[in-house]
Symmetry: C2
Subunit: 415 residues, 2 copies
């Protein structure tokens, strides 16, 4: 059962709230923070004095915005970039990237690498990840002491504790506890997240107006992934990262999916499925390992030109996505949808059939009001989500810890 609130929790939570208000608002004054948090000015004053003294926040000296109002000008508070740093590692098909991000959220260094993830051994895969992190940590420009968190996003299913990859389409290996491995290797807290969940996290930071409490991010790529935010919280399954939208059943016993089952949404809407249908191959044909983006673009071009099998393939994809979304909407009610990934560039080919399908489902009552945005580039989004996830952890777990072990904290080695 949930635990009572101890007296010291109070300060901890309010500290976290102030930090989070600053991260969200950019350069809010103490008065603004008091307004958004509902706490009194005196409390905000006390907490921010602590945070500044600890080197977590800083006052923005420059009164860049010329104060037009009378009275004492507001002093903006901002995150001290040097207070900490985090690493965002993204592992996707044949591709590994890492970015070092300062406490204010700016990328300070990055590195990318092509791999052959599908054929690599378990040790090689782990080795590459460890190595790329090590290279970044050995960068003389980086104060290793300040690195407070490593977040690794992977295409595939992760466990609900954000420790391990359970299964992934990018490698035959399963059950790799990346978070534990990195933690042991570098002594830095690490987490392992699902890539689509990180897309959703990033969208929430990028467009807080459009994507706030309830929305859906769908990755249209070789496979179909989903990140879901409900009631302002990232939705995960009870045991895994969950939200395996691509493997909801569209047609029982239908087309062969990459996962080995039949009739999944992905078996109609994933790149390999569109490719398979466009070539008029059997639905039982083994999914191909990879279709290049160029090839998909050519497919889309042909679909736009003539009403041939390519157009029909996209239509089928739209239908599968539409019925899938319809079933999803039956459970969670309609919400804004962001279509992310290379195939989002072909969303014009997908949308008509998708809307038609949705109209036949429980979500159909609102089909007019359902809006779709597209964002063809998933990688920056995933990295950004990863970084924000890691930074939020630092905000809450390190700079607002439950124990008063504030001495020796990462923030200390500043000013």
């Amino acid at each position: 059962m949930s635990v009572g609130i101890r007296h010291d929790d109070l300060r901890r939570r309010n500290r976290a709230m102030v930090i989070s208000a600053v991260r969200r608002a950019g350069q809010p004054s103490r008065t603004e923070i008091a307004a958004t948090t509902g706490l009194s000015h005196s409390t905000i004053s006390a907490i921010s004095a602590d945070l500044i003294q600890e080197g977590i926040l800083a006052e923005s000296k420059a009164s860049e915005t010329v104060s037009l109002k009378r009275g004492r000008p507001q002093v903006g508070l901002s995150l001290n970039p040097q207070a900490a740093a985090v690493l965002a590692v993204v592992l996707s098909l044949n591709f590994l990237s890492v970015a070092v991000i300062d406490y204010a959220g700016q990328v300070v260094a990055e590195e990318q690498r092509r791999l052959d993830t599908l054929t690599m051994s378990r040790d090689a895969l782990i080795g590459e990840c460890v190595a790329i992190v090590r290279r970044r940590l050995e960068d003389p420009d980086l104060d290793v002491q300040s690195v407070a968190r490593i977040a690794l996003a992977i295409q595939g299913i992760t466990d609900s504790h954000a420790r391990a990859m359970l299964w992934s389409p990018i490698t035959p290996q399963t059950n790799i506890a990346f978070a534990d491995i990195l933690e042991r290797e570098f002594g830095i807290p690490a987490i392992m997240e699902n890539d689509c969940n990180m897309m959703a996290v990033a969208l929430r930071w990028r467009h807080p107006d459009r994507y706030r409490d309830d929305f859906i991010a769908i990755l249209l790529s070789h496979g179909i992934g989903m990140g879901l935010v409900l009631k302002g919280e990232l939705f995960t399954g009870t045991h895994s990262s969950g939200g395996e939208f691509g493997h909801m059943i569209h047609r029982p016993g239908g087309a062969l999916c990459r996962c080995g089952r039949r009739g999944c949404v992905e078996a109609y809407a994933g790149n390999y499925a569109i490719w398979r249908n466009a070539r008029l191959l059997s639905e039982n044909a083994e999914p191909v390992a990879d279709v290049s983006d160029a090839e998909m673009r050519a497919l889309a071009a042909r679909a736009r030109e003539t009403d041939g099998p390519e157009r029909e393939a996209y239509r089928k994809a739209g239908e599968a996505l539409g019925f899938g979304l319809g079933s999803l909407f039956a459970l969670i009610d309609p919400a804004p949808v962001a279509m992310v990934g290379a195939s989002a560039a072909a969303f014009d080919l997908i949308e008509p059939a998708l809307r038609e399908a949705i109209a036949q489902t429980a979500g159909g009552q609102h089909s007019g009001s359902i809006s779709f945005d597209t964002e063809p580039n998933e990688l920056p989004l995933i990295r950004e989500g990863c970084a924000m996830r890691a930074l939020s952890f630092v905000d809450q777990e390190i700079f607002a810890p439950s124990i008063q072990a504030r001495a020796g904290s990462v923030g200390k080695n500043v000013a």
Copy 2:
């Protein structure tokens, strides 16, 4: 954004926690409460002294359990039955029932009534609900002042604020703001809940070991409903009660559903669908309004006897439920399932096809470990859930209010 924690919230939350600990544990001693909440003995002592003084809790005088241990015997704390009362109203097809429940959760009065909900006018339907509540409130044995909450459960879709029925299969009427109507009529806070959600709430109270953080309650009746608890919280949609499992799409363009659409799970697994298939009627045949329980029992009996269309009808029902659950499991991961309602008595006919279908879906990896319980009687469950929902509200909103307006509270008119 979320709001900071004020100093007075602290006491409020801890009060709520103590009350909730007592409601859950039955007659816990102060020491036990301290252990489960993690608060100190002194705090528990102070809070429970307040609560006893206010007439919310009471010490169980009788040391019924002969203390076998040395030392000062524990004094059990219990809820004072007279501290408040709530009304649980359940409106289902052709049936209206109300129960008065004391603060300790015991039914102290009840009344039931047959109606013809399908043909009643809007005003008549509202009138019946208001009237049955009025009769209970006019009961001389009841202290009207102590009635702190009315909870109304209805088969159908309610809004996410628990104010109104949006749509229901039991009446052609839509958008009835029952909660507002009852509140205005009687001046007592009211809520409007979905029946299947209340089933889930009740299961959680009844079997906290089996149904705690994540589970699914499915109503197998004329229609198919679902109540879902995820991460210990009742799951609702973003705009409505959500969880319309029965209207997830099983077969695009398939059998005609009561909701007017095609291929919903319900169009294969609802009583009317089983009946339709058992009679070898077309999948396009208009769903019948009602099939009596006796008729369904006869159908089930025939299905058990011979391998005819009846058995096939149940098989199809199982298949639809299985693929539906499989898609659901793709989103939320597998969880224990309780099958509730008259047709749960025929679950033996449904289960084989259901398991076979699930095995073909993303949930299939765990198909062996998924357990199903059956509970044929939904009404007591719904009422119980309704009552607990209302009582929890009293616990938290009235007996642990955010403002210190403790004078004049309902608890005051006791001792």
